[in-house]
Amino acid sequence: MCTPQRIGPPTEGFRETVPAMATLTILSGTGKSGEPEAISRLAINAGECLAVVGPTGSGKSELLSDIEQLACGDTLSGRKILLDGKVPENHWSSGGIVAQLSQKTGFIMDGTVEDFIRLHGRSKGLERPDLVEEVLHMTNSLCGEPVLPESRLQVLSGGQSRALMIADIACISDAPLVLIDEIENAGIDKLQALAALTASSKLIVLSTHDPILTLMARKRVVMKQGAMSTLRETTAEEGHCLERLRAVDAVLFRSRDLLRNGQSLTDGVL
């Protein structure tokens, strides 16, 4: 009667190959009250970043969760996610395709930073000797307090851990799609962080409340009542605004540095 059967996809040896991906398409569903979404189709390409904005409770997390679950009309929203224009083949798992930068600011693992980077590299078939240097170079460009190869993961500060997580996604993770739930200011240069991730030609979806990150993303979808209500691109005028916002941000950054180093603020600084 019962015949032995293996379910689940065959893989090539131990190392899984992650397909390259050029486009992510979101086909609309419905908002909280069941009305169709105003934006019926939204596509972004590799190397692009989509900001998801809107007040708390407007449905940003649900949109991210639909992407994470490769929704095919079977989630509450009824949205469909296409990769390169098609329903993904192994749509029971987005592991390997979707990387997530959550708000976690610490590691569970113990050991040195170097061992950790090498272990992750090995799992992806990256054995090159300068890998640790490359990841740490980026880590330290994002964070003021330097992370050393011999530092232990468990003693890293929140900012150092976040910086390492971001550099690690940019340099080692082979997932073509990155979901980010807010890059907060916890001791890292968030603008450089976003630049580093986009430079790795990944496709990025970023849920944020930050005006600078929103404009840097160049494309943004505005959520309202659980629905994608407006899609905007950063205009030329907003480009100028972005420069001014960056200047404001730099002032804030400088002030924070001065204050936490025990100095006092003067008009000249601002």
């Binding site: 019962c2 379910i7 131990f14 029971w92 992806k124």
Partner: protein, 235 residues
């Protein structure tokens, strides 16, 4: 009736995974029931009845080896599910040792493991993980992307074919992905004559029958001794 065996490490979230799935299925009118095996005590059957409103029973192995107790009661559990005319029968096992796996040939097998057990956990887990069709990884929200990827790689080293599904037991994110796998699974026409995917440990020694004292005079039957020295040094 589709049958699914669900195994996993303690506190990995087997019950949450089943609960989220059952809620999804219920909203589509698909009926589910759960038989929970455990060693000494469980309140999960009451949870399923009260919180989800579905039929649930428990089987406690008590003084009998939990693995042997489980396999000896599969026909009874199958008959119970049949009588209920349920569409889905989850057989959830806890308290089994990791020398064993409850998974049955021809019956879809899910093993739940959490990301917090450390990257060496998959290697230590044995047949429950290596012979599963689906590996549900929970608590991924608690770790970084890198740790997630290393963990997944370690899981792949012991099971290269299973579908790996990330699951958040608190929010239920991942439940729809797991549910998509169910569509491919066939009804199980009967459980008698089916075989376990992995043999259970040999027993029948004096301790099986209630002996509690330590020492050679009290040991009889199938007794295996630890090797303190390599074979060559022994006389």
């Amino acid at each position: 009736m589709k049958i699914i065996t669900v195994a996993g490490t303690p506190c990995a979230g087997k019950t949450s995974v089943i609960a989220h799935l059952v809620r999804l299925f219920k909203s589509e009118g698909v009926e589910a029931a759960v038989a929970k095996f455990d060693a000494l005590a469980t309140g999960d059957d009451a949870f399923y009845r009260k919180e989800l409103g579905i039929p649930a029973i428990k089987g406690l192995s008590d003084y009998v080896c939990p693995d042997h107790y489980y396999v000896s009661n599969l026909e009874e559990v199958y008959a119970w599910g049949k009588e209920l005319k349920t569409d889905l029968l989850f057989i959830e096992t806890a308290g089994l040792c990791f020398r064993c796996a409850p998974h049955i040939e021809g019956v879809p097998a899910i093993t739940v493991i959490d990301n917090l057990g450390g990257v060496d956990a998959p290697e230590k887990m044995g047949p429950a993980l290596s012979l599963a069709d689906v590996i549900v990884v929970t608590k991924s929200d608690m770790v970084s992307q890198a740790e997630k990827e290393v963990f997944r790689y370690k899981v792949r080293l012991v099971n290269s074919t299973a579908a790996i599904v990330q699951f958040n037991g608190l929010t239920g994110t991942g439940a729809v992905m797991l549910k998509r796998l169910f569509e491919a699974w066939q009804d199980v026409a009967g459980i008698s004559e089916a075989a376990l995917r992995y043999s259970m440990p040999a027993s029948i020694c004096s301790y099986c029958t209630g002996e509690m004292r330590i020492g050679k005079p009290y040991q009889s039957g199938n007794v295996k001794k630890i090797q303190l020295r390599p074979e060559s040094e022994r006389t």
